[in-house]
């Protein structure tokens, strides 16, 4: 029964990793941009929720509702003012710029909020759990997991059922021909990064509610997210969800065997899957 419990805890943790990864997956899928600052932007989102909550005396869930449009705006501006200028045939400039952005965000947060660990105080719901037979499941992890599914569903709906999703896919396929259709790639990219940061803010809410955070933890979240995206297959949103779940489950089982093995087990699972499926589990057919 302990194994069933471990599996469920792992899946629920994987939901959080999928949330970390979804924004990264979206941005990579549309503009082939690997945003090395994604983890730090999630941490920035957590501080923003904390700041709004503290200043206005709001529960983090309510504060997040205010943070969401602000982060969308930040994503839009970031893409318009900075990232659109470096996107091109060469993949190196955007990598360097987002790496620099990562360092800037970490240091700005350190300056503003010190290196102290913080946590989002979500209230009594934090300790609540539901019991199914012999397995006990926390309410917050369940909400996190449900949010991950909902986010992937929404992103898929945008991607495959709306006019803007068509523009996303067309621009990703061939940005020159997309311009002949009247699509402005830079606007499409700005919208995509805005949406990615909305998802990052949702991830930030659950990250901050689940565990302590400080300005330095971004890169490790980026690593999990990156592994989830690659396991799933670049550009596949459902693949990203599966990738997140696999890393979560691997970490849970690693920790069950020996606590120190938790992080290592996730990375080992990542390497093993890449050995068997170098392009990930659900690669896009026409890449």
């Amino acid at each position: 029964m302990i194994w069933l419990d471990t599996l469920i805890q792992g899946l629920l943790l994987g939901g959080l990793y999928a949330l970390f990864a979804a924004g990264l997956s979206l941005v990579f899928g549309i503009m082939r941009l690997v945003n090395l600052a994604h983890g730090d932007l999630i941490v920035l989102g957590a501080y923003l929720i904390l700041g709004i909550g503290t200043a206005l005396g709001l529960n983090p869930f309510v504060a997040a509702l205010i943070a969401l449009p602000l982060m969308f705006l930040l994503g839009w501006l970031l893409q318009t003012v900075l990232l659109n200028r470096v996107l091109g045939d060469d993949i190196l400039p955007p990598l360097l710029v987002t790496f620099g952005l990562s360092v800037v965000i970490q240091n700005a947060l350190l300056e503003q909020f010190t290196a102290d660990s913080r946590r989002l105080p979500v209230g009594p719901i934090e300790a609540k759990s539901l019991t199914f037979g012999s397995v006990s499941v926390g309410v917050m992890p369940l909400i996190t997991f449900a949010s991950a599914i909902l986010v992937i569903l929404c992103l898929n709906w945008i991607f495959y059922r709306t006019a803007i999703g068509r523009a996303f896919r067309a621009t990703s396929d061939d940005s020159v021909t997309a311009q002949l259709m009247g699509i402005r790639p830079r606007r499409v990219f700005a919208l995509a990064t805005g949406i990615a940061l909305v998802v990052a803010t949702i991830a930030a809410l659950y990250l901050g509610a689940r565990a302590n955070f400080d300005p330095s933890i971004g890169p490790a979240r980026l690593l999990y997210a990156f592994e989830a995206v690659i396991i799933g297959g670049l550009g596949s949103l459902w693949g990203t969800l599966i990738g997140g779940l696999i890393i979560g489950v691997a970490q849970a089982f690693g920790a069950a065997l020996k606590l120190e093995w938790q992080i290592l087990a996730g990375h080992v699972a990542f390497v093993l899957i890449l050995l068997v499926r170098p392009r990930g589990l659900f690669p896009r057919a026409h890449d």
Partner: protein, 237 residues
């Protein structure tokens, strides 16, 4: 009468290579104009320069008297020039129907062309609307590419090498749609290597060689020899 689309002394580059040397062109309302020429004559660069994909280094392009050469490609599409690019360039991630719908991405208001009329123009597409665009034959993909451009209800339709890589029977099928397109009020510029096809459908024919216009006239007025000289640049003895 002033021309609908006017290209004046246009110079453009393909990378570092100068591909156009002071090209002039005038398309009247309702006219079908063909540009013929060998590979590398600058026909595609001219199309790309008009649509804002290639950078214009000198000269002007006007549509209805308004300059469009400083505009970006999406703005030029909105101004009323749509292109069927060489090689069809369908979006592989999009279904047939989605490829057509994205042609109307920038459209405001209504016009003659819509999904229904495009499917009537190319009935074979109606049955394949929900298929991946990559599953179509080359000719069917060309039909989607034309339909996609029409969905924006352009005043000028540019077609780059429609017949490239297609069987003669398929080419005839595609060109059979052009009278309907003309009747919808769209003026057409065809870039063709297939001289016979160009002479058949066009009101005026222009020949390009090495980035310059070498011949212009009505098909009936042009002798085989004149076209041959303009196309290959050698005088027959």
């Amino acid at each position: 009468m002033s021309a609908l689309l006017k290209v004046n002394d246009l110079t453009a580059h393909y990378g570092d290579f100068q591909a156009l040397f002071g090209v002039d062109l005038a398309l009247e309302q309702g006219e079908t104009l063909a540009i013929i020429g060998a590979n590398g004559a600058g026909k595609t660069t001219l199309m790309r320069a008009i649509t804002g994909i290639a950078r214009v280094t000198a000269g002007t392009v006007t549509l209805n008297g308004a300059r469009i050469d400083p505009l970006s490609a999406p703005e030029i599409l909105r101004a009323g020039i749509a292109m069927v690019p060489e090689g069809r360039k369908l979006f592989p991630s999009l279904s047939v129907e989605e490829n057509l719908m994205i042609g109307a991405h920038a459209r405001k208001g209504s016009g003659y062309w819509n999904m229904e009329r495009v499917c009537k123009l190319f009935p074979v597409l109606a049955a394949r609307r929900h298929q991946p665009s990559t599953s179509l034959s080359g000719g069917q993909q060309q039909m989607v590419s034309i339909g996609r451009a029409l969905m924006s209800n352009p005043s000028v339709l540019l077609c780059d090498e429609l017949s490239l890589g297609l069987a003669p029977v398929v080419i005839r099928e595609i060109y059979a749609a052009f009278p309907t397109i003309r009747e919808s009020g769209t003026s057409i510029v065809l870039v063709e290597q297939d001289i016979g096809q160009a002479l058949k459908v066009a009101d005026t024919v222009h020949c390009m060689m090495e980035g310059r216009m070498t011949l212009s006239g009505r098909p009936a007025e042009l002798s085989r020899e004149a076209i041959h000289d303009a196309y290959f640049g050698i005088t027959q003895s």
